[in-house]
Protein backbone atom coordinates (compact mmCIF):
# COMPACT_ATOMS: atom_id res chain seq x y z
CA UNK A 1 0.00 0.00 0.00
CA UNK A 2 1.23 3.48 -0.79
CA UNK A 3 0.72 6.65 1.19
CA UNK A 4 -1.55 7.92 -1.58
CA UNK A 5 -4.29 5.82 -0.01
CA UNK A 6 -3.84 7.50 3.35
CA UNK A 7 -4.01 11.09 2.24
CA UNK A 8 -6.08 11.57 -0.92
CA UNK A 9 -6.63 15.29 -1.43
CA UNK A 10 -9.56 16.26 -3.61
CA UNK A 11 -10.53 19.17 -5.79
CA UNK A 12 -14.18 19.70 -6.56
CA UNK A 13 -15.47 21.47 -9.66
CA UNK A 14 -19.08 22.25 -10.52
CA UNK A 15 -19.43 21.96 -14.31
CA UNK A 16 -23.16 22.38 -15.08
CA UNK A 17 -24.52 20.91 -11.90
CA UNK A 18 -27.86 22.02 -10.48
CA UNK A 19 -25.99 22.24 -7.11
CA UNK A 20 -27.74 19.10 -5.84
CA UNK A 21 -24.62 16.95 -6.14
CA UNK A 22 -22.38 19.84 -5.00
CA UNK A 23 -24.23 20.08 -1.74
CA UNK A 24 -23.85 16.33 -1.25
CA UNK A 25 -20.09 16.58 -1.91
CA UNK A 26 -19.79 19.30 0.71
CA UNK A 27 -21.98 17.26 3.07
CA UNK A 28 -19.18 14.66 3.09
CA UNK A 29 -16.95 17.21 4.84
CA UNK A 30 -19.45 18.01 7.61
CA UNK A 31 -19.40 16.39 11.08
CA UNK A 32 -22.00 13.82 9.95
CA UNK A 33 -19.68 12.11 7.42
CA UNK A 34 -16.33 13.82 8.17
CA UNK A 35 -14.12 12.44 5.38
CA UNK A 36 -11.08 14.07 7.01
CA UNK A 37 -10.89 10.98 9.26
CA UNK A 38 -9.56 9.21 6.14
CA UNK A 39 -7.11 12.05 5.50
CA UNK A 40 -9.27 13.48 2.72
CA UNK A 41 -8.96 17.25 2.35
CA UNK A 42 -10.82 19.53 -0.03
CA UNK A 43 -7.87 21.51 -1.38
CA UNK A 44 -9.38 23.86 -3.95
CA UNK A 45 -6.01 23.84 -5.72
CA UNK A 46 -5.44 21.47 -8.67
CA UNK A 47 -1.69 21.39 -8.03
CA UNK A 48 -2.22 19.90 -4.56
CA UNK A 49 -5.00 17.51 -5.55
CA UNK A 50 -5.00 13.77 -6.25
CA UNK A 51 -8.68 13.21 -6.99
CA UNK A 52 -10.80 15.41 -9.24
CA UNK A 53 -14.49 15.29 -8.25
CA UNK A 54 -16.63 16.78 -10.99
CA UNK A 55 -20.37 17.32 -10.81
CA UNK A 56 -22.75 18.12 -13.67
CA UNK A 57 -22.47 17.73 -17.42
CA UNK A 58 -19.88 19.60 -19.45
CA UNK A 59 -21.00 22.49 -21.65
CA UNK A 60 -19.33 24.70 -24.28
CA UNK A 61 -18.56 27.37 -21.69
CA UNK A 62 -16.55 25.27 -19.27
CA UNK A 63 -14.75 22.73 -21.46
CA UNK A 64 -11.58 24.82 -21.21
CA UNK A 65 -11.87 25.10 -17.42
CA UNK A 66 -12.31 21.34 -16.96
CA UNK A 67 -9.34 20.59 -19.22
CA UNK A 68 -7.23 23.22 -17.49
CA UNK A 69 -7.89 21.83 -14.01
CA UNK A 70 -7.16 18.29 -15.20
CA UNK A 71 -3.90 19.32 -16.88
CA UNK A 72 -2.69 21.21 -13.81
CA UNK A 73 -3.01 18.17 -11.52
CA UNK A 74 0.28 16.33 -10.89
CA UNK A 75 0.39 12.59 -11.66
CA UNK A 76 -0.86 10.15 -10.46
CA UNK A 77 -4.39 11.61 -10.65
CA UNK A 78 -7.90 10.22 -10.81
CA UNK A 79 -11.18 11.68 -12.08
CA UNK A 80 -14.49 10.82 -10.42
CA UNK A 81 -17.72 11.78 -12.18
CA UNK A 82 -20.26 12.56 -9.45
CA UNK A 83 -23.96 12.26 -10.38
CA UNK A 84 -25.79 11.11 -13.47
CA UNK A 85 -25.17 14.41 -15.31
CA UNK A 86 -21.40 14.03 -14.97
CA UNK A 87 -21.70 10.36 -15.93
CA UNK A 88 -23.71 10.72 -19.13
CA UNK A 89 -25.26 14.17 -19.31
CA UNK A 90 -28.42 12.97 -17.56
CA UNK A 91 -31.62 14.80 -18.43
CA UNK A 92 -29.59 17.62 -19.97
CA UNK A 93 -27.95 15.27 -22.48
CA UNK A 94 -30.00 16.57 -25.45
CA UNK A 95 -29.59 20.28 -24.66
CA UNK A 96 -28.02 22.32 -27.45
CA UNK A 97 -25.23 23.64 -25.23
CA UNK A 98 -24.38 20.38 -23.43
CA UNK A 99 -21.58 18.16 -24.72
CA UNK A 100 -22.55 15.21 -22.52
CA UNK A 101 -20.76 13.47 -19.65
CA UNK A 102 -17.33 14.46 -18.37
CA UNK A 103 -15.71 11.59 -20.28
CA UNK A 104 -16.31 13.50 -23.52
CA UNK A 105 -13.54 15.89 -22.44
CA UNK A 106 -11.17 14.15 -19.99
CA UNK A 107 -10.64 10.48 -19.09
CA UNK A 108 -12.93 9.44 -16.21
CA UNK A 109 -11.89 6.60 -13.88
CA UNK A 110 -14.89 6.21 -11.57
CA UNK A 111 -18.56 6.88 -12.30
CA UNK A 112 -20.92 7.54 -9.38
CA UNK A 113 -24.48 7.82 -10.78
CA UNK A 114 -27.42 9.22 -8.83
CA UNK A 115 -29.65 12.28 -8.76
CA UNK A 116 -28.55 13.60 -6.41
CA UNK A 117 -25.82 11.21 -5.28
CA UNK A 118 -25.92 10.25 -1.64
CA UNK A 119 -22.84 11.14 0.44
CA UNK A 120 -22.31 7.42 1.15
CA UNK A 121 -22.08 6.77 -2.60
CA UNK A 122 -19.61 9.64 -3.02
CA UNK A 123 -17.39 8.22 -0.25
CA UNK A 124 -17.63 4.79 -1.93
CA UNK A 125 -16.61 6.38 -5.22
CA UNK A 126 -13.63 8.09 -3.64
CA UNK A 127 -12.53 4.82 -2.00
CA UNK A 128 -12.71 3.16 -5.43
CA UNK A 129 -10.73 6.07 -6.85
CA UNK A 130 -8.01 5.48 -4.26
CA UNK A 131 -7.58 1.96 -5.69
CA UNK A 132 -7.18 3.39 -9.19
CA UNK A 133 -4.77 6.00 -7.83
CA UNK A 134 -2.50 3.30 -6.40
CA UNK A 135 -2.63 1.35 -9.67
CA UNK A 136 -1.61 4.46 -11.59
CA UNK A 137 1.22 5.05 -9.14
CA UNK A 138 2.68 1.57 -9.72
CA UNK A 139 2.37 2.08 -13.49
CA UNK A 140 4.08 5.44 -13.15
CA UNK A 141 6.94 3.85 -11.22
CA UNK A 142 7.32 1.09 -13.83
CA UNK A 143 7.35 3.69 -16.59
CA UNK A 144 10.00 5.69 -14.75
CA UNK A 145 12.10 2.54 -14.24
CA UNK A 146 11.96 1.72 -17.99
CA UNK A 147 12.95 5.17 -19.14
Amino acid sequence: MTYLAKSPWIIHYDATSCNGCDIEVLACLTPMYDVERFGIINTGNPKHADIFLITGSVNEQNVKVVENIYNQMPNPKVVVAIGICATSGGIFRECYNVLGGVDKVIPVDVYVPGCAVRPEAIIDGVVKAIGVLEEKHTQMKKGAAKS
Partner: protein, 296 residues
Protein backbone atom coordinates in the same frame (compact mmCIF):
# COMPACT_ATOMS: atom_id res chain seq x y z
CA UNK B 1 39.93 26.07 39.46
CA UNK B 2 41.12 26.68 35.89
CA UNK B 3 40.81 22.97 35.07
CA UNK B 4 37.31 22.85 36.43
CA UNK B 5 36.36 25.81 34.24
CA UNK B 6 37.76 24.12 31.11
CA UNK B 7 35.90 20.87 31.82
CA UNK B 8 32.71 22.80 32.44
CA UNK B 9 33.05 24.57 29.11
CA UNK B 10 33.68 21.29 27.31
CA UNK B 11 30.62 19.80 28.97
CA UNK B 12 28.47 22.72 27.88
CA UNK B 13 29.80 22.44 24.31
CA UNK B 14 29.00 18.69 24.32
CA UNK B 15 25.50 19.22 25.64
CA UNK B 16 24.79 21.91 23.07
CA UNK B 17 26.00 19.70 20.21
CA UNK B 18 23.83 16.81 21.46
CA UNK B 19 20.83 19.15 21.73
CA UNK B 20 21.44 20.36 18.17
CA UNK B 21 21.62 16.79 16.84
CA UNK B 22 18.53 15.78 18.81
CA UNK B 23 16.68 18.70 17.25
CA UNK B 24 17.78 17.65 13.76
CA UNK B 25 16.32 14.17 14.25
CA UNK B 26 13.43 14.66 16.69
CA UNK B 27 12.43 18.21 15.70
CA UNK B 28 10.34 17.29 12.64
CA UNK B 29 8.84 14.29 14.47
CA UNK B 30 7.74 16.56 17.31
CA UNK B 31 6.46 19.20 14.88
CA UNK B 32 4.50 16.62 12.89
CA UNK B 33 2.96 15.09 16.01
CA UNK B 34 1.94 18.50 17.33
CA UNK B 35 0.39 19.32 13.94
CA UNK B 36 -1.46 16.00 13.98
CA UNK B 37 -2.75 16.60 17.50
CA UNK B 38 -3.71 20.13 16.44
CA UNK B 39 -5.80 18.77 13.56
CA UNK B 40 -7.48 16.18 15.79
CA UNK B 41 -8.29 18.71 18.52
CA UNK B 42 -9.57 21.21 15.91
CA UNK B 43 -11.83 18.49 14.48
CA UNK B 44 -13.18 17.69 17.96
CA UNK B 45 -13.88 21.37 18.56
CA UNK B 46 -15.92 21.35 15.33
CA UNK B 47 -17.83 18.21 16.36
CA UNK B 48 -15.96 15.94 13.93
CA UNK B 49 -13.91 12.82 14.58
CA UNK B 50 -10.78 14.12 12.85
CA UNK B 51 -7.83 12.51 11.06
CA UNK B 52 -5.30 10.09 12.62
CA UNK B 53 -2.59 11.75 14.75
CA UNK B 54 0.04 10.64 12.19
CA UNK B 55 -1.86 12.25 9.30
CA UNK B 56 0.72 15.05 8.69
CA UNK B 57 3.40 12.39 8.13
CA UNK B 58 1.15 10.48 5.71
CA UNK B 59 0.56 13.73 3.82
CA UNK B 60 4.28 14.45 3.49
CA UNK B 61 5.12 10.87 2.45
CA UNK B 62 2.33 10.98 -0.10
CA UNK B 63 3.61 14.24 -1.57
CA UNK B 64 6.95 12.53 -2.22
CA UNK B 65 5.07 9.96 -4.34
CA UNK B 66 3.61 12.68 -6.57
CA UNK B 67 4.88 14.28 -9.73
CA UNK B 68 6.54 17.68 -9.35
CA UNK B 69 5.05 20.36 -11.56
CA UNK B 70 6.90 23.68 -11.73
CA UNK B 71 6.09 27.00 -13.31
CA UNK B 72 9.77 27.94 -13.44
CA UNK B 73 12.52 25.41 -12.97
CA UNK B 74 14.36 27.66 -10.50
CA UNK B 75 11.40 28.06 -8.13
CA UNK B 76 12.34 25.08 -5.95
CA UNK B 77 15.73 26.61 -5.07
CA UNK B 78 13.93 29.05 -2.76
CA UNK B 79 12.13 26.20 -1.04
CA UNK B 80 15.46 24.42 -0.39
CA UNK B 81 16.88 27.58 1.19
CA UNK B 82 13.71 28.11 3.22
CA UNK B 83 14.05 24.63 4.69
CA UNK B 84 17.81 25.06 5.18
CA UNK B 85 17.49 28.32 7.13
CA UNK B 86 14.58 27.08 9.21
CA UNK B 87 16.71 24.09 10.23
CA UNK B 88 19.68 26.43 10.82
CA UNK B 89 17.53 28.65 13.06
CA UNK B 90 16.31 25.66 15.05
CA UNK B 91 19.81 24.20 15.46
CA UNK B 92 21.10 27.58 16.71
CA UNK B 93 18.21 27.80 19.16
CA UNK B 94 18.65 24.30 20.56
CA UNK B 95 22.43 24.64 20.75
CA UNK B 96 21.81 27.56 23.10
CA UNK B 97 23.28 30.21 20.80
CA UNK B 98 22.54 33.91 20.56
CA UNK B 99 18.81 34.72 20.56
CA UNK B 100 19.39 37.70 18.25
CA UNK B 101 21.02 35.49 15.65
CA UNK B 102 18.13 33.02 15.97
CA UNK B 103 15.59 35.79 15.31
CA UNK B 104 17.43 37.18 12.29
CA UNK B 105 18.09 33.81 10.71
CA UNK B 106 14.37 33.06 11.16
CA UNK B 107 13.69 36.30 9.29
CA UNK B 108 16.06 35.21 6.52
CA UNK B 109 14.21 31.88 6.22
CA UNK B 110 10.90 33.72 6.02
CA UNK B 111 12.32 35.95 3.26
CA UNK B 112 13.20 32.88 1.20
CA UNK B 113 9.63 31.65 1.68
CA UNK B 114 8.37 35.03 0.43
CA UNK B 115 10.70 34.83 -2.60
CA UNK B 116 9.31 31.36 -3.30
CA UNK B 117 5.85 32.92 -3.38
CA UNK B 118 6.91 35.68 -5.79
CA UNK B 119 8.65 33.14 -8.03
CA UNK B 120 5.43 31.13 -8.32
CA UNK B 121 4.09 33.98 -10.43
CA UNK B 122 0.36 33.37 -10.01
CA UNK B 123 -1.77 36.18 -8.54
CA UNK B 124 -2.58 33.94 -5.56
CA UNK B 125 1.02 33.27 -4.62
CA UNK B 126 2.09 36.89 -5.19
CA UNK B 127 -0.67 38.23 -2.93
CA UNK B 128 0.30 35.50 -0.47
CA UNK B 129 3.93 36.66 -0.58
CA UNK B 130 2.92 40.29 -0.01
CA UNK B 131 0.79 39.28 2.94
CA UNK B 132 3.63 37.21 4.36
CA UNK B 133 5.77 40.37 4.31
CA UNK B 134 3.00 42.24 6.12
CA UNK B 135 2.84 39.44 8.67
CA UNK B 136 6.57 39.74 9.23
CA UNK B 137 6.15 43.47 9.66
CA UNK B 138 3.45 42.76 12.25
CA UNK B 139 5.30 40.23 14.42
CA UNK B 140 8.92 41.35 14.08
CA UNK B 141 8.87 44.28 16.61
CA UNK B 142 7.41 42.06 19.34
CA UNK B 143 9.91 39.25 18.71
CA UNK B 144 12.82 41.69 18.90
CA UNK B 145 11.44 43.16 22.12
CA UNK B 146 11.35 39.64 23.52
CA UNK B 147 15.12 39.41 22.96
CA UNK B 148 15.65 42.79 24.65
CA UNK B 149 13.45 41.74 27.57
CA UNK B 150 15.30 38.44 27.95
CA UNK B 151 18.57 40.36 28.19
CA UNK B 152 17.16 42.68 30.83
CA UNK B 153 15.87 39.74 32.87
CA UNK B 154 18.88 37.41 32.63
CA UNK B 155 21.77 39.69 31.47
CA UNK B 156 22.40 37.44 28.48
CA UNK B 157 21.23 37.04 24.89
CA UNK B 158 22.32 33.40 24.84
CA UNK B 159 19.53 30.80 24.88
CA UNK B 160 21.84 28.48 26.83
CA UNK B 161 22.22 31.05 29.62
CA UNK B 162 18.54 31.93 29.67
CA UNK B 163 17.32 28.33 30.14
CA UNK B 164 19.81 27.72 32.92
CA UNK B 165 19.31 31.01 34.76
CA UNK B 166 17.75 30.59 38.22
CA UNK B 167 15.56 33.68 37.68
CA UNK B 168 12.22 33.14 36.01
CA UNK B 169 12.11 35.79 33.23
CA UNK B 170 8.28 35.76 33.20
CA UNK B 171 8.25 37.39 36.64
CA UNK B 172 9.87 40.49 35.13
CA UNK B 173 8.37 40.13 31.65
CA UNK B 174 4.63 39.40 31.95
CA UNK B 175 3.79 42.04 29.31
CA UNK B 176 6.29 40.66 26.83
CA UNK B 177 4.91 37.16 27.43
CA UNK B 178 1.38 38.34 26.53
CA UNK B 179 2.68 40.19 23.47
CA UNK B 180 4.66 37.18 22.25
CA UNK B 181 1.67 34.88 22.69
CA UNK B 182 -0.31 37.33 20.59
CA UNK B 183 2.14 37.34 17.68
CA UNK B 184 2.68 33.59 17.95
CA UNK B 185 -0.76 33.26 16.34
CA UNK B 186 0.69 34.94 13.24
CA UNK B 187 3.81 32.80 13.23
CA UNK B 188 1.89 29.54 13.68
CA UNK B 189 -0.36 30.56 10.75
CA UNK B 190 -3.52 30.42 12.82
CA UNK B 191 -6.79 32.19 12.15
CA UNK B 192 -7.48 35.19 12.54
CA UNK B 193 -3.98 35.87 11.19
CA UNK B 194 -3.55 33.11 8.57
CA UNK B 195 -3.39 35.66 5.78
CA UNK B 196 -0.51 34.51 3.59
CA UNK B 197 -1.14 30.80 3.40
CA UNK B 198 -3.72 28.88 5.29
CA UNK B 199 -3.94 25.35 6.64
CA UNK B 200 -7.36 25.20 5.05
CA UNK B 201 -7.63 25.60 1.31
CA UNK B 202 -10.61 26.70 -0.72
CA UNK B 203 -10.51 30.32 0.36
CA UNK B 204 -10.02 33.51 -1.60
CA UNK B 205 -6.27 32.96 -1.74
CA UNK B 206 -6.46 29.23 -2.67
CA UNK B 207 -3.28 28.23 -0.79
CA UNK B 208 -1.41 31.54 -0.93
CA UNK B 209 2.35 31.21 -1.22
CA UNK B 210 2.26 27.43 -1.71
CA UNK B 211 -0.32 27.53 -4.52
CA UNK B 212 2.23 26.85 -7.29
CA UNK B 213 4.16 24.17 -5.41
CA UNK B 214 3.29 20.52 -5.85
CA UNK B 215 4.59 17.08 -4.91
CA UNK B 216 8.07 16.89 -3.31
CA UNK B 217 8.53 20.69 -3.19
CA UNK B 218 5.32 21.04 -1.18
CA UNK B 219 6.51 18.20 1.05
CA UNK B 220 9.70 20.16 1.82
CA UNK B 221 7.61 23.22 2.75
CA UNK B 222 5.56 21.01 5.10
CA UNK B 223 8.75 19.60 6.64
CA UNK B 224 10.01 23.16 7.16
CA UNK B 225 6.76 23.93 9.01
CA UNK B 226 7.39 20.83 11.19
CA UNK B 227 10.91 22.08 11.97
CA UNK B 228 9.49 25.49 12.86
CA UNK B 229 7.13 24.29 15.61
CA UNK B 230 9.72 23.23 18.27
CA UNK B 231 11.54 26.56 18.47
CA UNK B 232 8.38 28.67 18.21
CA UNK B 233 7.09 26.80 21.24
CA UNK B 234 10.62 27.13 22.61
CA UNK B 235 10.26 30.93 22.65
CA UNK B 236 7.45 30.47 25.20
CA UNK B 237 9.60 28.00 27.12
CA UNK B 238 12.38 30.60 27.53
CA UNK B 239 10.16 32.64 29.85
CA UNK B 240 10.49 30.00 32.54
CA UNK B 241 14.28 29.84 32.71
CA UNK B 242 15.38 26.71 34.48
CA UNK B 243 11.86 25.82 35.72
CA UNK B 244 11.45 23.26 32.94
CA UNK B 245 8.34 21.42 34.07
CA UNK B 246 6.36 24.62 34.53
CA UNK B 247 7.69 25.80 31.17
CA UNK B 248 6.49 22.66 29.39
CA UNK B 249 3.04 22.93 30.99
CA UNK B 250 2.67 26.56 29.94
CA UNK B 251 3.87 25.70 26.40
CA UNK B 252 1.11 23.08 26.13
CA UNK B 253 -1.46 25.53 27.51
CA UNK B 254 -0.39 28.29 25.09
CA UNK B 255 -0.58 25.91 22.12
CA UNK B 256 -4.05 24.79 23.17
CA UNK B 257 -5.08 28.43 23.43
CA UNK B 258 -3.79 28.99 19.86
CA UNK B 259 -5.93 26.09 18.60
CA UNK B 260 -8.96 27.49 20.43
CA UNK B 261 -8.39 30.95 18.91
CA UNK B 262 -7.90 29.35 15.47
CA UNK B 263 -11.32 27.73 15.73
CA UNK B 264 -13.23 30.64 17.21
CA UNK B 265 -12.09 33.65 15.16
CA UNK B 266 -12.71 34.52 11.52
CA UNK B 267 -9.79 35.82 9.49
CA UNK B 268 -9.16 39.56 9.75
CA UNK B 269 -7.88 42.03 7.16
CA UNK B 270 -4.16 42.72 7.08
CA UNK B 271 -4.68 46.36 8.14
CA UNK B 272 -6.16 45.20 11.43
CA UNK B 273 -3.46 42.57 11.89
CA UNK B 274 -0.60 45.07 11.53
CA UNK B 275 -2.29 47.75 13.66
CA UNK B 276 -3.35 45.33 16.41
CA UNK B 277 0.05 43.63 16.61
CA UNK B 278 1.84 46.96 16.87
CA UNK B 279 -0.58 48.27 19.50
CA UNK B 280 -0.08 45.11 21.55
CA UNK B 281 3.70 45.32 21.04
CA UNK B 282 3.70 49.00 22.09
CA UNK B 283 1.54 48.58 25.19
CA UNK B 284 2.60 45.18 26.53
CA UNK B 285 6.08 44.82 25.03
CA UNK B 286 7.47 48.34 25.09
CA UNK B 287 5.55 49.22 28.24
CA UNK B 288 7.13 46.26 30.00
CA UNK B 289 10.62 47.33 28.89
CA UNK B 290 10.06 50.96 29.96
CA UNK B 291 8.86 49.89 33.41
CA UNK B 292 11.80 47.52 33.81
CA UNK B 293 14.33 50.19 32.85
CA UNK B 294 12.73 52.74 35.18
CA UNK B 295 12.82 50.30 38.09
CA UNK B 296 16.29 49.32 36.80
Amino acid sequence: MADCYVINRELIAMVSIIMGLLYLVLGPLFGGLVTGLDRRISARMQGRFGPPILQPFYDVLKLFEKEQIVVRRSQNVYVYFYLLFIVFTGVLFFMGEDLLLVIFSLTLAAIFFVLAGYKGGSPFSIIGAERELLQMMAYEPMVLMMAVGMYMATKSFYVGDIVTSPAMPIMLLPGIFIGLTYVLTIKLRKSPFDLSTSHHGHQELVKGITTEYSGPALALIEIAHFYEVPFLVGFVFLFFGSHWLLGLLVCAAVYFLEILIDNTFARTKWQFMVAASWVVAAIFGFGNIIILSLLG
